[in-house]
Symmetry: C2
Subunit: 559 residues, 2 copies
């Protein structure tokens, strides 16, 4: 039954084998392989899909927002409603089941298709709701899911799951429009953002956030100190616990899923930044440092940490413990200020866990390639394996305009050693506010980094996509190659530039080299024309190989 | 004397302290730093410049070509004229002196400015002509410099020097224009290509190459089998030693500086590719495999290797021993075919060195992040530390349209472990022929990779540029920041998008966050307003620190 011979990308929902929950995927249907040996059907591939109802071509963002998937799940939850709390009680939540199905799909397909890189790996072979529960319970993974953000399609952040990517959006005093920010949200999830941070600091902060959350299928993070600072007219020294508390509750009520809180910027760490080349480059960090110095008091986010936990556990908001003292240049990487703060974040992690509040830890920043691994090792040790969430890092400072690339390099490196989520950097970093195109560029660079990290970690599911795409490439199934890629539109348009639209898509040679110089074509021909001969040489070689081994010769000469 | 307060990029020539040779650099002049403490002059920075006479704004490429810098140097050279030959005789050539001055400039400035990352490193503190001689003599570095390419500004490729970048240009049967290719050459050197390969396979191969070489200040590499194949109408089985030999001499006479020669694709290795997912993806590799099978004979490039060396030493053409069996997908990385060929390339390296012919070794390809380091280790061991020259590698196959990024990640990783030159990949890889914009995108991505690798290797000179740019950034010297970057034009235009042209360039806040949320500004203010307080806390902390140490407490808690 070879009826399917069209390449299509569609949205499908898979019923969970546990309770029947429906979990969304993007399905890539491939064309058949046609050769002299006949026609062979190529498998469909289900890939992780972050776009939610937004990927419906008819979807228009609006105030009422998207479907409230979790309404029924959360309506009877009371008291401490965190996923960690349930996990510790041994209760598998709908969220845990949902993420298990999401994360297991690629592993399942790899098994089913028998496509495996066979690398040694610490990652699990199968992800079940019970496995998710254990990871959340131990604090090694978090499911950021405010009970007021019922539009959310739950996802998980942890070393033992697929590496995730965050996109930052939000206006500033220099540029403002609610519509534009909601559009950036939709756009972000289209290109694979697993979470989105609304970093607005301009006008209409409250309403912008409201429209973003009501339309978001992915967790939304914020940095509440930004809005608190607006409330005191931008004067850091006038900040206080009451203004901050009120802001936390306002945002919690709206449904923010995780808060970046710079509670590790302690008074005694501020002087450690005095001789840095680029001082403090985190906005939240510099605000809190300024406050500490102005009052000569300890950071009120630190002294009120238990109060903050009380608020967060009532909504199940996760901590993203901010790295206010992250390095802002290669020169300042891995210094005392940075690692001192990290130690305090570890202390706060344990405190949050006592409240069953979920925690991830933010990380740098700007770090040269040789100093990146140390960051993951230290974070795991100091913060008891809480998930690490890093900004890049940028591996050099010399390419303003290309920091999505300088940092995708660092993100891959930090990801492969266990960082759970990578915060994207756009080409506009250090230069201006990203527009839609920048958001896309940043996201693609980071989807690459996350996937390259998954491959390096030996994730058995992630390898399937590389395999199928390469097979499509080798067989000149151009449309399949495009659709299996991260950005089919761009790939197709690049191909169109060199080869005419229709003929090119069935061309049995690469658009780069032309027919005579197409190595793939020659390589296929070799197999076709010389199959018998290869067989012959192989047999001869096996004999030689036997002699070789028997002679005790060492393959690799030492010189 | 603070007369300079303009940011300018200019071209300068520095006289060698040895014989007075003039060596070109790009000079970046910075503005002054103005603060309450007064005005401080910022240093000029001399950076490596590959653009040759082409960066003269009045330059027009033409048939006669650029200045013949090396005419006098080479005119009396006879017999074996390779740099390795002279090095073995203890003779410092003009080329060696020239590259010493080029490579030492950044190290010298780092010392002079006392800006140093203080990382442990295997790299030298100073590069002298004698040091260059030793590196060339040992085969650890090469200076590709055909005596017929007198327009060349010599450069060196080796692990202990700055990591280099190659750009590929050249037409195909599908797209052809000599002018366009010469323009791509000029464009490549503008964006920092250290060498350029002309991979033309279309019409007018000879004349295209002629115009490229006559206008090129950087070494030109080719893959002679492409033109040889054209001579036998694209029929691989009709290739033979005579046609190939004639092609080598034709190209040698024109002045090609290095030849990619796939002499390691042995008959017995071809069957090793039969079960690969993507077979043979090197054009030269597939042509030679096809020939071997058709004749059931050993690769004539292998059997005639000594004859090839005889030709190459008469012109001082370097080998770029081709990796015809490199993997074309993550699935095929680091397999037996690939490493068997590498072993043969090691054998051929020793053979070439007997003729005093310089050698570098080509490498993959498509390799996941965790398998990259192994490639460098094997290459060094099997090929006796001959410089490694790799294509990427791509760290995932799933992003057609973005392979400059998938591969810049791998290039950084392979570069940091000692790969000497990185062959760029453009966004069009696998999809079409790169246009000018693609060439630029590919080059910037690879300049980033090369620089990030230099930083990771602890290169004491490369760190200066990051340092100065970050300082300019922290002090809101926008124009200096742009000019110190790899692409001032793009950085400037991105900044313009957010802030109005003139006011923005003196703005004391980031265009991203606006005045109130500028961490850099707050950080500067902290230092200004709270300097005394920081001092006070610091003194207190020193006492605490003393107590801490005396109490024998361990900073990093073990949990």
């Amino acid at each position: 039954m070879l009826t399917k011979n069209k390449t299509v990308i569609s949205k499908v929902y898979i019923k969970s084998p546990y309770s029947g929950l429906e979990v969304p995927f993007k399905k890539i249907t491939q064309t058949n392989t046609t050769s002299e040996d006949g026609v062979v059907q190529n498998p469909d591939l289900l890939v992780y899909d972050t776009s939610g109802p937004l990927s419906d071509p008819n979807f228009q963002p609006h105030v009422k927002g998207i479907k409230k998937l979790r309404n029924e799940w959360v309506k009877s939850r009371k008291g401490n409603v965190t996923q960690m709390h349930y996990a510790k009680k041994g209760i598998v939540t709908e969220e845990m089941e949902y993420v298990a199905v999401r994360e297991n799909a690629l592993l399942d397909q790899a098994k089913h298709l028998n496509i495996n890189s066979n690398k040694p790996t610490d990652l699990p072979n199968e992800i079940t709701p019970d496995y998710v529960l254990e990871e959340v319970k131990s604090g090694r993974a978090i499911i950021p899911a405010n009970i007021r953000h019922t539009e959310l399609e739950p996802m998980i952040i942890g070393t033992n799951f697929l590496v995730k990517v965050n996109s930052n959006i939000g206006n500033s005093a220099l540029k403002s429009s609610i519509e534009e920010e909601v559009e950036k949200l939709v756009w972000s999830t289209k290109w694979g953002a697993d979470t989105v941070m609304d970093l607005s600091t301009g006008k209409n902060i409250h309403q912008t956030r409201e429209d973003i959350i009501r339309n978001s299928p992915v967790p939304i993070g914020t940095v509440p100190i930004y809005q608190a600072l607006e409330k005191v007219d931008g004067k850091a020294e006038e900040l206080n616990w009451n203004v901050y508390r009120e802001t936390l509750i306002e945002q919690a009520e709206q449904g923010v899923d995780y808060f970046t809180i710079h509670a590790g910027v302690l008074l005694r760490y501020v002087p450690l930044t005095a001789n840095r080349l680029t001082g403090i480059v985190s906005r939240g960090g510099s605000i809190m440092a300024s406050w500490c110095l102005a009052h000569h008091q300890e950071n009120f986010l630190y002294t009120h940490f238990d109060d903050i936990c009380e608020i967060m556990k009532a909504y199940d908001i996760s901590f993203s413990l901010g790295d206010g003292l992250r390095p802002g240049s290669i020169a300042d990487a891995n210094d005392e200020a940075q690692f001192s703060e990290l130690e305090t974040l570890g202390e706060l992690t344990l405190k949050a866990w006592k409240h069953d509040v979920q925690v991830m830890i933010e990380g740098p920043g700007h770090v040269s390639m040789d100093q990146i691994k140390e960051n993951v090792i230290k974070e795991k040790e100091l913060c008891n394996d809480a998930p690490f969430y890093t900004l890049g890092p940028l591996t050099t400072d010399i390419a303003p305009g290309y920091d999505h690339i300088t940092s995708a390099i660092g993100a891959t490196e930090i990801g492969r050693y266990g960082t759970a989520m990578l915060c994207y950097v756009t080409p506009k970093e250090h230069l201006g506010l990203p527009n839609k195109e920048d958001v896309k560029e940043g996201l693609i660079a980071y989807k690459i980094a996350a996937h390259a990290a998954d491959l390096a970690k030996g994730h058995k599911g992630s390898y399937v996509r590389d395999y199928l795409l390469s097979k499509a490439r080798f067989e000149f199934r151009w449309e399949d190659q495009f659709n299996l890629g991260l950005d089919p539109e761009t790939a197709r348009s690049y191909h169109d530039e060199t080869l005419p639209k229709d003929s090119g898509k069935t061309a049995h040679f690469c658009s780069m080299c032309g027919p005579k110089f197409c190595s793939m074509k020659i390589s296929q021909d070799i197999k076709k024309k010389h199959g018998d001969e290869i067989q012959f040489i192989e047999v001869g070689m096996q004999e030689k190989s036997k002699e070789f081994i028997e002679s005790g010769h060492n393959l690799y000469r030492k010189v």
